[in-house]
């Protein structure tokens, strides 16, 4: 364990992200928590979490890495349980399982090589690291805890969770798989698409953001699998800033209007512009529009896959990137353009402090700075930071069109979805959806019939089909 580890090429973006996020979490926590006792507790927990984070970044062996991961987990668990003890329990148990798996893998590596040092993992033990860090980084099927924890935590804690805690999984993957590793690309691709697709449905702003995090983690995982850990680290930094902003401003919106439901928030931008503006600005950067860091980084990830990857992987990633614009539009557009007079005005509680909205925008400014800062780093490792090569332009266009179509169809079909949870797949599909309906009948044995599992099974079948072709 040495502090010099903090500043090496891969840890530095994580360290920077951690610094900004912890400071902004403390500041926004001061405003978010009203009771003095809660404030003190939150401060102590942030201190513990930041100590854990510094430990994670500076540890030189896997045992200490897990040791500090658990300290981070515990402090975040305590933060979440300030608001939602049940979601916190799910979070804690899943993270303990992850740490246990990594410990078993570490023990195996030690038995194999006689060293605990952080580094590439030999073959038979990779599966434990994949599973352990997979829970941390919310691989599909292992992601069950993420929407719960991110959606229900107090907003400053959500920012830390989404900004830093899940990134420790990516950091671990970068360390354990420095060489290109095809299964990770596959998982990352599926995850990016699945997360983006799931983010279309929820009405809870923070749940949308949680699935969005999953989608972005998919991009990072794909980058790790392609062997370009530097891009994943840079992506992690940029995403940490964006999600820090989004979750904190979602907290501001929640505190100001007393709800996170998009339907209830219709037209709220007209009532209290400052509260909503921060969220919208964050969404603008997260959507990956040209000129932002996430645009640049998404493209670097896609181009880092190189020509060895099958054609549909960049295609799916591009589609997932485009869907980000769709689901973020989904949660921001109603704030300004829908009239809410039918439902009555949303509960409007004064106290949305503009200073904090500004604070979260300053985080964004850092992202813009990163936009001009990271290309130089990226240039050192990657050649192309522009849009996808000319020959792929058509493909990118098709992908975006497909993404738009999927979102449009899904929204139309699921207009009357219930408040909580996702509908049964049988309600959503009818005979006129031909292929999807047939697929549901065929795959009915593999999933319990809920929409999210159906989508996942469909994706897996699609990927298997692609692999066999």
């Amino acid at each position: 364990m040495s502090l010099s580890n903090l500043f090496d090429g891969i840890n530095a973006p994580f360290l920077a992200a951690g610094l900004v996020l912890y400071i902004s979490a403390v500041i926004s926590g001061e405003w978010y928590f009203k009771a003095p006792g809660e404030r003190v507790r939150f401060r102590v927990l942030v201190a513990a979490a930041s100590a854990g984070s510094i430990g994670i970044l500076s540890s030189g062996n896997w045992l200490l890495f897990v040791f500090f991961l658990e300290i981070l987990t515990l402090s975040l668990w305590s933060m979440i349980s300030m608001k939602e003890p049940r979601a916190a329990l799910v979070y804690l148990l899943s993270q303990l399982a992850a740490a246990g798996l990594i410990l078993v893998g570490t023990a195996g590596v030690y038995a194999h090589t006689g060293s605990l040092a952080i580094g590439p993992v030999p073959e038979p033990w990779r599966v434990f690291f994949m599973a352990g860090f997979g829970i941390k980084a919310a691989f599909p099927l292992l992601h069950f805890w993420l929407p719960e924890a991110h959606g229900k935590a107090p907003s400053p804690a959500s920012a830390l969770l989404s900004g830093f805690a899940v990134k420790t999984g990516i950091l671990g993957l970068i360390r354990a798989f420095p060489e290109p590793f095809a299964p990770l690309v596959l998982i990352g691709t599926v995850m990016a698409f699945f997360g983006a697709f799931m983010a279309v449905f929820p009405r809870d702003i923070k749940r949308v953001l949680a699935y969005s995090t999953m989608s972005h983690l998919g991009f990072m995982t794909a980058a790790v699998g392609a062997g370009s850990g530097e891009i994943a680290a840079a992506y992690a930094f940029s995403h940490a800033m964006i999600k820090g902003n989004l979750f904190i401003s979602a907290g501001i919106v929640e505190k100001t209007f007393g709800t996170r439901d998009i339907f209830a928030l219709r037209g709220s931008g007209r009532l209290h512009f400052a509260a909503v503006a921060a969220l919208t600005a964050g969404a603008f950067f997260a959507a990956g529009l040209p000129g932002t860091a996430s645009y640049l980084l998404k493209n670097s990830v896609i181009s880092s896959l190189g020509h060895t990857a099958p054609w549909w992987q960049p295609f799916m990633l591009t589609a997932a990137g485009m869907m980000a614009a769709g689901y973020l539009l989904n949660i921001t557009a109603p704030l300004f353009f829908r009239d809410n007079s039918k439902n009555g005005t949303p509960k409007h509680e004064e106290g949305g402090n503009i200073i904090f909205a500004v604070l979260s925008v300053t985080i964004l400014l850092l992202v813009i700075a990163a936009d001009s800062f990271f290309p130089s780093i990226l240039h050192a490792f990657r050649v192309d930071t522009g849009f996808t090569p000319a020959s792929d332009k058509l493909e990118a266009f098709i992908a975006s069109a497909a993404a738009g179509l999927i979102i449009l169809l899904a929204r139309l079909r699921l207009k009357g979805i219930p408040e909580q949870g996702l509908p049964d797949i049988k309600i959503c599909l009818s005979m006129d959806e031909g292929p999807l309906y047939a697929f549901n009948r065929v795959s009915g044995c593999c999933h319990p019939g809920r929409l999210n599992t159906f989508v996942f099974v469909a994706l897996v079948f699609l990927v298997l089909l692609m692999l066999t072709l």
Binding site: L63, F67, P85, L92, L96, G100, L103, A107, A111
Partner: protein, 496 residues
């Protein structure tokens, strides 16, 4: 000589107490305290002697082939330390709770202490059985001491299963004697190499089955939750913290000496039993509503962890098992004392009724929290490190499934300990109750018990951090090396 004293002094105390009782009806607490101190210092002296220079004493001057030998090496010393600390704490709690009144209790307690030291020090298989039976009879009596119907039933259950276990040990001893004609454990470890395979299988099956029943591992654990939950607080703590460890010592000693080179299947069986115990214990604990039964099933699971360490059949595994035994003694004794005191004052052991304690007794809850975090394996407490060592040695032995079981156990135990803790911190009934109805029962403050819980919690933290330093790790791995070094043990006893 120190070795003989470690056994004789507690036995003398056990016989003196009834004599003193004839003179005075109620014994002064200080008298029993002093007796306890003398007995414990005798066992600590044996531990000290055995740790720094392995010691043998031939009883009556007979050669090891004929007579009984007492041996103290680092493994015995480590367990002497565990039992010493544990029984000291239990005695202090009992003295605080009962005072000098129940002289029979203290007589049985000292009998137990003497027989435990006997098990830990003896080098003779039949003598081990004899001490084991004294130990067991004393334990049955302690479990049933309160004479409530639960305690009697638990005591009877323990007695029947314990006697079956003892009979299997006796059968194994008989087979061993028939096959080789000797009973000295050191000489047996050499002689068993030339014993036919089938005989060896019968011997190992009997001994391992008997010792497993005594340990309370999963498939034959039925007596343990009843006995540990029905007894009084101090006895529960003693049972879970100390008595189980003595059985584990006997298992380790017998298996390492006899079967390390002759019958590797034994260790595979121990690993399987350990994994089953860990999973089964945790899953059963998850379903309990009674806080003491929950802790007792957690003990079953922790025994599983220790057995996984033993089953690695390596120095690292043995060291991890001893380290976890020590940690489990600290954690589970503290937990039982805290849970017992808290539920005595609330008048119930139902977890869902133990509410509002955070406001009433913050120190107890704090101690319970730290200790349960330690037993779940939260860094930087000792449970994390001992689990890590067991996982490490299990992976080193080439088996991953036990390591995965331990990882899964962490998750399950976190779930059920959190359930207890969330009950503790949730607002209690007294918050809503009207002030006239509630009549706070005057309960004597349990300052000694609280100090013990607090110091055990501090000890857990200190051990967790110390385990990182190579210096203290060297101490523990030396225990493991002693445990598997059969040649050194034989050389020590025979003088070759």
């Amino acid at each position: 000589m120190t070795l003989v004293l470690a056994i004789v002094v507690p036995l003398v105390a056990a016989f003196l107490i009834p004599v003193f009782h004839l003179a005075r009806k109620t014994l002064p607490v200080s008298l029993i305290g002093i007796m306890g101190l003398i007995s414990l210092s005798a066992s600590m002296a044996a531990a000290y002697a055995g740790w720094f220079s392995p010691e043998v004493s031939l009883l009556g001057g007979w050669a090891p082939e004929i007579g009984i030998v007492l041996v103290a090496d680092r493994l015995s010393s480590a367990f002497l330390l565990i039992t010493g600390i544990g029984s000291g704490a239990a005695l202090a709690c009992a003295l605080e709770k009962f005072g000098g009144g129940p002289w029979r209790f203290y007589a049985i307690f000292f009998l137990l202490l003497g027989s435990m030291n006997g098990i830990l020090l003896t080098g003779d298989l039949f003598n081990l059985f004899v001490f084991y039976e004294i130990f067991s009879v004393a334990a049955y009596l302690l479990v049933a001491f309160s004479m409530s119907w639960q305690a009697l039933e638990a005591g009877l259950k323990y007695l029947v299963l314990g006697t079956i276990g003892a009979l299997f040990i006796l059968l194994g001893t008989a087979f061993t004697f028939m096959a080789t004609g000797i009973l000295n454990m050191a000489l047996l470890s050499e002689a068993l190499v030339s014993v036919p395979r089938e005989t060896l299988t019968a011997i190992s099956a009997c001994l391992v089955l008997g010792l497993t029943i005594k340990t309370g591992a999963f498939p034959v654990h039925f007596w343990l939750p009843d006995a540990h939950s029905s007894a009084q607080t101090a006895v529960s703590a003693l049972l879970s913290g100390v008595l189980v460890k003595v059985s584990i010592y006997a298992l380790m000693r017998v298996c390492f000496l006899f079967f390390l080179e002759t019958n590797g299947t034994v260790f595979l069986a121990i690993t399987v039993i350990g994994s089953l115990s860990a999973l089964g214990g945790h899953l059963m604990a998850l379903r309990q509503d009674d806080i003491k039964r929950l802790l007792a099933y957690s003990t079953v699971a922790q025994i599983g962890y220790i057995l996984i360490g033993v089953g690695c059949a390596s120095a690292a595994g043995a060291a991890a098992a001893v380290f976890h035994s020590f940690n489990h003694m600290l954690m589970k004794m503290g937990l039982f004392i805290a849970a017992g005191n808290v539920s005595d004052e609330k008048g119930t052991r139902e977890i869902c009724k133990l509410t509002g304690l955070w406001k009433e007794k913050p120190f107890w809850v704090l101690g319970f929290t730290v200790l349960s975090a330690a037993i779940v394996g939260i860094p930087p407490l000792n449970g994390f490190m001992s689990k890590w060592f067991i996982i490490l040695s299990s992976a080193g032995a080439g088996t991953v499934i036990p390591a995965l079981v331990i990882a899964a156990g962490t998750v399950i135990s976190a779930a059920y300990y959190l359930r207890v803790l969330s009950a503790f911190v949730s607002p209690g009934e007294s918050d809503q109750e009207d002030p006239f109805k509630s009549s706070p029962r005057k309960v004597r403050s349990k300052i000694v018990s609280l100090t013990i819980v607090g110091s055990f919690a501090m000890f857990c933290l200190a051990l967790g951090i110390m385990a990182f330093s190579p210096f203290s790790r060297e101490y523990f791995s030396s225990i493991g090396r002693t445990a598997v070094d059969v040649g050194a043990y034989v050389g020590l006893v025979t003088g070759r």
